[in-house]
């Protein structure tokens, strides 16, 4: 399937749903270029009216953090409760926090 000579590049697909505020990663697909990727994403991921907007990104352009660095990256945040705005009372008018 992933023989690079005979298959199209991989694209990551992000869909914004009707209720959603941001685009969410929904999966990936193969396509020869961006235009085809949008078309394919429409067919593969929005068949049941899931979306109102589509982003496609070449998978090779995504830089991911390494699982080996997980401790160094994420553990220090564990014991710093003061970074969370839990000590404030949120006014009712403020939505989507």
């Amino acid at each position: 399937m992933s023989d690079s000579k005979n298959s199209w590049p991989l694209w990551e697909v992000f869909i914004r749903s009707k209720q959603g505020l941001g685009h969410k990663h929904v999966g990936s697909l193969h396509a020869a270029d961006a235009e085809m990727a949008i078309g394919n994403a429409r067919d593969v991921y929005t068949r049941r009216q899931e979306g109102v907007s589509i982003w496609v990104v070449p998978a090779e352009n995504i830089t991911a953090s390494s699982p080996e660095n997980a401790e160094a990256l994420f553990d220090p945040a564990n014991d710093k409760v003061y970074r969370h705005p839990t000590f404030f009372v949120l006014p009712d008018e403020v939505n989507h926090m």
Binding site: W8, H30, G39, N40, D43, V44, R47
Partner: protein
């Protein structure tokens, strides 16, 4: 146009969509890529949806008891189907399927645009108005593939040019008016086929130019679908499509 003619005109719309939808459905699980497999079957489902609407409407115009869309789809015989010969042509390779789709989509889009704007049959207008959005996507999908394959590799170019050359003889039928068309055009239901042809030529030529493909000469055109005279493979298509409802009449989910 009288009631039987009106019914025939609607049957043609329904049959074009039904038979092409059935053909595209044959790709399910066989297309060159998963993404394209889903695209083709999505288009097939759009077409079957249009079929249900047009055939139900045609059935309601039947002399005597009205017929359901299922009765019309599954219990008519070969000579009663009035689809274009183009849409019944076998899938062939992916290029054949794309060219068949491309030639039909642009015709179907122009026809639906007229149907949506006429006032002779408001139900047909409503069906067409809904279908236009679907057909626009179909035409966009098939046109882009014609350009990709035509302007692709030497092999893809040669193969899709061959598909175009072979299917071209079925394009004349779309623009040949018989007595049903004449009555439909007079009443306003159907579009003037001469004007439609000019618009179709423009749309097709624009895509062919980008695709670097050569438009075939208008030679001898094969016809007969509108009279119920079909090509060789049509009987097999019907046999497969109708086998279940004919083996188990009134079967339900």
């Amino acid at each position: 146009m009288n009631k039987p003619q009106h019914k025939q005109a609607l049957l043609r719309l329904g049959d074009d969509a039904l038979i092409l939808g059935q053909r595209l459905g044959e790709w399910c699980g066989h297309a060159p890529a998963l993404e394209e497999d889903i695209a083709l079957t999505n288009i097939a489902l759009d077409l079957i949806g249009q079929t249900q609407s047009y055939l139900s409407l045609a059935g309601s115009l039947n002399e005597g008891e009205s017929q359901t869309d299922d009765q019309l789809a599954f219990h008519r015989t070969e000579r009663d189907f009035k689809n274009l010969l183009l849409v019944e042509q076998p899938n062939g390779d992916f290029g054949d399927t794309i060219v068949r789709q491309f030639l039909f989509d642009h015709f179907a889009l122009l026809r639906a645009e007229h149907l949506a704007s006429q006032t002779f049959d408001l139900e047909a207008a409503a069906i067409a108005a809904k279908a236009i959005k679907e057909i626009r996507y179909h035409a966009d999908h098939s046109s882009k593939w014609v350009i990709r394959l035509g302007d692709g590799t030497t092999e893809s170019h040669e193969r899709v040019q061959k598909s175009l050359n072979e299917l071209w003889k079925f394009t004349g039928e779309m623009f040949t008016a018989d007595e049903i068309d004449v009555a439909g055009i007079e009443s306003g239901l159907l579009p003037d086929l001469t004007i439609l042809k000019t618009k179709w030529d423009t749309a097709i030529d624009a895509v062919l130019k980008k695709s670097t493909l050569i438009r075939p000469e208008n030679g001898w055109m094969q016809q007969g679908g509108r009279k119920g005279i079909h090509t060789e493979s049509f009987g097999f298509l019907l046999a497969e499509m109708q086998s279940l409802p004919r083996t188990y009449p009134d079967a339900t989910w």
